[in-house]
Amino acid sequence: MLKKIFSAALLCIGVQMAAFSQTDPDLTGMRALGTPANPKVKWAWNYYMDYAGIMKLSQELVKAYPNLVKIENIGKSTQGRDMIVLAITDYKKGNADRKPGFWIDGGIHANELQGTQFAMYTAWYLAESFGKVEFITEMLQDRIFYILPTLSPDAREQFLFKPNTANSSRSGLVALDDDGDGYVDEDGYDDLDGDGEITMMRRKSPTGRWKEDPNYPARMIPAKADEPGEYELLGIEGIDNDGDGRVNEDLPGTYDPNRDWGWGWQPDYVQNGAFYYPGTLIETRNVKNFIYNHRNIAGAQSYHNFGGMFLRGPGAEEDQGFYTQSDVAVYDLIGKQGEKMIPGYNYYVLWKDLYTVYGGEIDWLALARGIFTFSNEINTSYRLFNKKSTEGRFQNDEFNEFDKYLLFGDAYVKWKPYKHPQYGDIEIGGSKKNNVRNTPGFMLEEEGHRNMAFTLLHAYHMPKIEIAEIKSKKLPGGLTEVTATIINTRAIPTHSSHDVRYKIERPDYVTLKNAQVISGMIVDDADLNLTREQKFNPQTIEVPNIPGTLTGTGGGSNYAVKVRWIVRGSADKYTVEVDSMKGGVISKTE
């Protein structure tokens, strides 16, 4: 009787859904694959959002998806802005903060705008795709994402709304005396022509050694060795505000929040940009506190630009030894797949392929916390014409060509005359702050999606633990031997080998419930009966690591962890629970 009613109800729902499906764009050809066609939260992905935009989108996501998205305030920035983390998971399933966690942050370098954008795209995409894309649904059932859209919110606002170059407003806004004259931030850039951009200054001069590129007048090139030049270059737009004979020598900021982390930290004279000690800045301290309070975080992505790279640590050559072969194998698997997913991006090692960084965030995550971490350097000149340039990063003129044919001149400010208090009659013009580093609007959604896909692959490979088997065997004297086999079906182990070496995270606990355990042990080889007994508290066996599918132990033939108990009496079924900080909590009765 009951059954009948139930199926009738089901039928009813089915009918309703069928009727509805004709109007749901996601179930029609209107859905461009991979993208929600009818999102609950509408958002355009071809411009850079400001702080208000981040807050608005976040709140709309919480409102539309209360069972998927929550906002956590992790503290205030130097100027008092709330730093928010979007915690995204299927809150209806499991204990959210005990699922393997994935950390994403954007915009630690505030002038590198895409990271924030892609972090927000990921939040939006996960929420909008849950229940529609099976991969995403499972991801949110099994994992939790902690997304910090901007680590340097003050400097991001400064970059967006104040005149800047492509490289200024990179750090936070703690006031500092850069030139040691006793005055603070007294000689920054000046937007002399009032166009909202800080560009370059040039002066027509018979002694100058520069000339205009005949193809692209915004571009200055050096005169040839055997010809006279037409212009002097006078540096970045500004005046000598404090009358000390120097121009633009004391800007806001000028330290680096990505040199403020507690691994391999070095002072400013060794590592330019460092402050007093790791965690001098409130912004990085807020993140550290959050990460220590969320020991379930097993993977992390810290977005940067520029150059098209998937970077892993170490940042310094002397730390190579901390990245062991088995940990590197995990990075290799994900990084090499990434090279296919984002054409033009390369999988690189930070110190070797880019430059040395002491006290950087990714080393802290990887080596102080044992979290497998990538940092994507978003955007590459490859993407201009989908080919590799033979020129260097800032030398090549492809940006000018791209500007001419695809941006219609939007990337450069035309030279305009200006009367300068120190230099006299000059001209101001050149590259806008969003040129080169920051992805143009029409390419932004694609690059965001590809970066997100890479990060989701990374998140997919966080540990997924299963109890493959619970076997029991009668022993003489009324005793029973219970053996559990535990596997991790993904590439990332519950503890990196660096973590195991330094005991960063506590061991994984495997507990036999409701049994009178008199002895417990780890089984090294079940066939040859090689075991190691754990004398203290044998009910809960402490396993240093549950390796993933990439483990090389035992010739790679067997990656299971086996534990065994000797119990008094016998039962039909036994319940085993695995409790892993980075692998989650599961149990099985068999």
């Binding site: 040691g180 000390d244 507690g262 400013d268 004279y269 965690g279 220590y292 802290w364 004398k535 203290f536």
Partner: protein, 558 residues
């Protein structure tokens, strides 16, 4: 003045022992309020255990505007003698504030004192059981096994002190010392010695991991938590450099006080009896690990001053990883000196053993780590030396005689509790510190006399006619030490020597710069500056830097 005397006398009678946090706090407050024109006390932050980290400032007038010395004690919580010495120095300084050398010191310099940098750890002195503790009040899983504070010390003989346990066992590697039967030393197979005792700290192995008392209350040893040469994942070093509020508070104060010329740390490291030597290979790399040549020579000069005060026979106590003393030099860019202040004098008048590496002074006293100390064998053994001195001085309460107990982890074995009492080796009875404080006050006053002294000299103005004037002057350091440590010129936060021109109305610079910055001026070094100024009337020239003082001179142009 009468009040001051009263306060001092009153306390001197009361104090016969080391103090608790509360006693110390009120002592500092009393001292400051009784000397309000010269002294002030404020909190620069809280420890993990929510105790204030006190800063005592001694100076006549605005301290921030004067070159300063910073004295820090009690970073190593087991070192109470440093804390007591630092406070006694302050008391003596204030009691003698009218006298020549001290008056001049307080007139021209500021003295900052942080007497107890690690108050959580020091409080174990008055807690039960008493043991030499280095770690602050953070709840921390010291042995990283996932269990918190599961294996603390236990007072097995009920005497309120944590000492050692020796167990007769065939696997033991210790024997009784030939030089002193109270002391245990490692058996040396080369000398035909076979071990007899297992030596462990006083307690049981609660979590049965084979280690004794490796995870009691307490978290981070803050003198392992500073940034220079920070040791990763060792017991007491914490999760990462500067993770602890004590470290941040002290660093914020030091970095935020550009007038601090030098730092003196009282603790179990010594770079004063013998100054660190210059080693080219240590400064040739991007990361410096030794002093620069100029600084090594200044340190040698200060070391000479120190040794001239009769502070003899100091044990060699090399710098340790992640400590404040080295961080203050290598990272904050200040001269940094460190000494235990007091040590047990050698009993026999014998050859100088300063250069020999002694066993660390706290090695055989149970500290948070719980490892059985590796005592050096023979007469140079630290424990033997200490007990010899204590016997001569007829000190009681420094040794707990070995006494048999029942030890649950060794049910059928002979186990005895005993050993040198906690704190005893580093911390003599308080009355011994009067002389220590006297001598170190002399050292501070002597250092103050050698500190840099920037002057503007040989000021000349020449009129070139038509309202154009040339000003020439020299900026000279008449002190005996450079304006700041040479390493300071690499450190972003150390202020350079600045000469600045403040023009009067209608004046303008025709030649020369308004602000001139330069590197440190060595002792006796001078630099000449010239300006061409158009206009007449008064103008002011200022020169100096926070570590050496800023002076100004007025010039009138005709």
């Amino acid at each position: 003045m009468g009040l001051t005397c009263l306060a001092l006398t009153g306390h001197a009678q009361a104090q016969t022992s080391y103090q608790s946090y509360e006693q110390r706090s009120s002592r500092l407050r009393t001292l400051a309020s009784a000397n309000s024109s010269l002294a002030s006390v404020k909190s620069i932050g809280k420890s993990r255990g929510q105790r204030d980290i006190w800063l005592l400032t001694l100076s006549k007038g605005d301290a921030a505007k004067k070159p300063a010395l910073l004295i820090v004690a009690g970073l190593e919580g087991a070192h109470l003698a440093g804390t007591e010495t630092a406070i006694q120095m302050a008391e003596k300084m204030l009691a003698n504030a009218g006298k020549d050398s001290i008056a001049k010191l307080l007139e021209t310099k500021a003295i900052y004192i942080i007497p107890s940098a690690n108050p959580d750890a020091q409080e174990q002195w008055v807690a039960k059981p008493r043991y030499a503790r280095s770690e602050n009040g953070l709840d921390y899983d010291n042995d990283r096994d996932g269990r918190l504070n599961e294996d603390p010390f236990e007072d097995l003989n009920g005497d309120g002190l944590i000492t050692m346990v020796r167990v007769e066992d065939p696997t033991g590697t210790f024997i009784v010392s030939k030089d002193d039967p109270r002391v245990l030393v490692k058996a040396d197979p080369v000398k035909g010695e076979r071990g007899k005792y297992i030596l462990i700290t006083e307690g049981i192995d609660n979590d049965r991991d084979g280690k004794f008392n490796e995870d009691g209350p307490g978290g981070v040893h803050i003198d392992k938590n500073f940034t220079f040469d920070y040791p990763i994942f060792v017991d007491g070093s914490g999760d990462y450099a500067a993770s602890e509020p004590e470290v941040r508070a002290i660093s914020d104060f030091l970095y935020g006080s550009p007038n601090i010329f030098a730092v003196l740390t009282f603790g179990p490291n010594n770079n004063l009896s013998e100054a660190p030597k210059f080693d080219q290979s240590k400064v040739a790399r991007r990361i410096l690990t030794g002093p620069t040549q100029k600084d090594a020579s200044a340190m040698e000069q200060v070391s000479k001053l120190y040794n001239s005060l009769g502070l003899k026979d100091a044990p060699a106590m090399p710098q340790t990883k992640g400590n404040f003393s080295q961080t203050a030099y290598f990272h904050a860019g200040r001269f940094s000196f460190t000494t235990p202040g007091w040590w047990a004098p050698k009993v026999e008048a014998a050859k100088d053993t300063t250069k020999k590496a002694d066993a660390g002074a706290v090695a055989t006293t149970p500290a948070g780590g719980g490892s059985a100390g590796a005592a050096a064998a023979g007469a140079d053994n630290d424990d033997v030396r200490f007990l010899k001195w204590a016997d001569r001085e007829k000190l009681t309460d420094v040794f707990v005689d070995w006494k048999e107990i029942k030890h649950p982890d060794f049910p059928d074995k002979k186990a005895e509790v005993g050993g040198i009492a906690p704190y005893a080796k580093l911390n003599p009875p308080v009355n011994y510190l009067n002389e220590t404080a006297e001598k170190h006050l002399k050292f501070i006053a002597g250092l103050g006399m050698q500190m840099p002294d920037v002057q503007i000299v040989n000021v000349r103005t020449e009129s070139l006619g038509n309202g154009l004037n040339r000003i020439t002057l020299q900026v000279v350091n008449k002190g005996l030490l450079p304006t700041y440590a040479d390493i300071g010129d690499r450190v972003r936060w150390v202020k350079k020597v600045k000469t600045e021109l403040f023009l009067g109305n209608g004046q303008s610079i025709v030649s020369g710069r308004k602000i001139i910055l330069r590197n440190a001026l060595a002792a006796g070094e001078a630099e000449e500056y010239t300006w061409l100024i158009s206009g007449t009337g008064k103008l002011t020239i200022q020169a100096g830097c926070p570590t050496a003082g800023v002076v100004s001179t007025e010039v009138t142009l005709k």
